[in-house]
Symmetry: C2
Subunit: 163 residues, 2 copies
């Protein structure tokens, strides 16, 4: 899709490593979904964890707008790489993932030990992880745009992101 003017660079191993590190270190991110009524993009902050075997895991309330949106339209976008308190957020690396969301059935979550995995990375989630409306969602990347700073953009495939 790159035009002759595209700032996209050829993907190299440094870009792949940076992208995988952003996924492995993700604890929060911005998820973009299609609003179930308007169809327009809606962006929300969600807690995240890297999923064993690749992709990301989220623990979401079924009452949240983004959860209801994902149940209708599972194609979503996720921005990783939260800016720090210092420095220019536009020079800090970030990853725009394209993902397909899949709600994990409670039995499968138990079999895979997702609760323990989640609480190890999000100990404060103990206060809501067992509420009946909370569910795990697996976010499987289908591709990504990595921005490593001004003028350093890369298009990555799902394979580039595999751990």
């Amino acid at each position: 899709m790159p035009s002759p003017l595209s700032p996209i660079r050829p993907t190299d191993n440094a870009a792949r490593t940076l992208a995988r590190d952003l996924v492995a270190g993700a604890r929060f991110g911005a998820i973009g979904v299609l609003h179930p009524v308007s169809g327009a993009p809606h962006v929300a902050r969600i807690a995240l964890a890297p999923a064993t075997g690749g992709g990301l895991l989220a623990l979401v309330s079924g009452l949240a707008l983004h959860s209801r949106a994902l149940a209708v339209a599972p194609q979503a976008g996720v921005l990783l790489g939260e800016p720090g308190a210092k420095g220019d957020p536009l020079t800090q690396p970030r990853l725009s993932l394209s993902v397909t969301a899949r709600f994990v059935e409670p039995e499968e979550a138990r079999a895979q030990g997702l609760r323990a995995h989640w609480l190890a990375l999000h100990p404060k989630a103990r206060i809501y992880a067992d509420l009946p409306d909370f569910r795990f969602v697996h976010l499987a990347p289908t591709g990504a745009l990595l921005n490593g700073g001004f003028g350093r953009a890369f298009e990555l495939t799902a394979e580039d992101l595999a751990p």
Copy 2:
């Protein structure tokens, strides 16, 4: 749209003030657009400034995917309220805006003094503000979801957000 189970609270002046403060203090945010090829949500980090008269201003490169997306589909979502280095990002207030994007013509930008307004808030933008592919975009809110922390959600109208 709130269901009987909706966690949305009645909008009060504290919620309006918090939302307006998040807009007034916005320097960066996550914008969700419709990918021009796939139609799926795509989320990117962009620099922002409050616009005189309401809404937000962005300065974007025409080469960026989100710019090309906005040119095709101007309905977008913007998440404000960047998490700090400390504390739980899910307890920090954030605002999910629904916006309509409009590219500002260069003559109009000059007449409105947008460059000076932008550089006062983003002095480092001096190095790219005058590149020929950069354009100002006005993001007019049509509504918002304010999350003031766990279980404290509010639906706001464009009027609630007007400065």
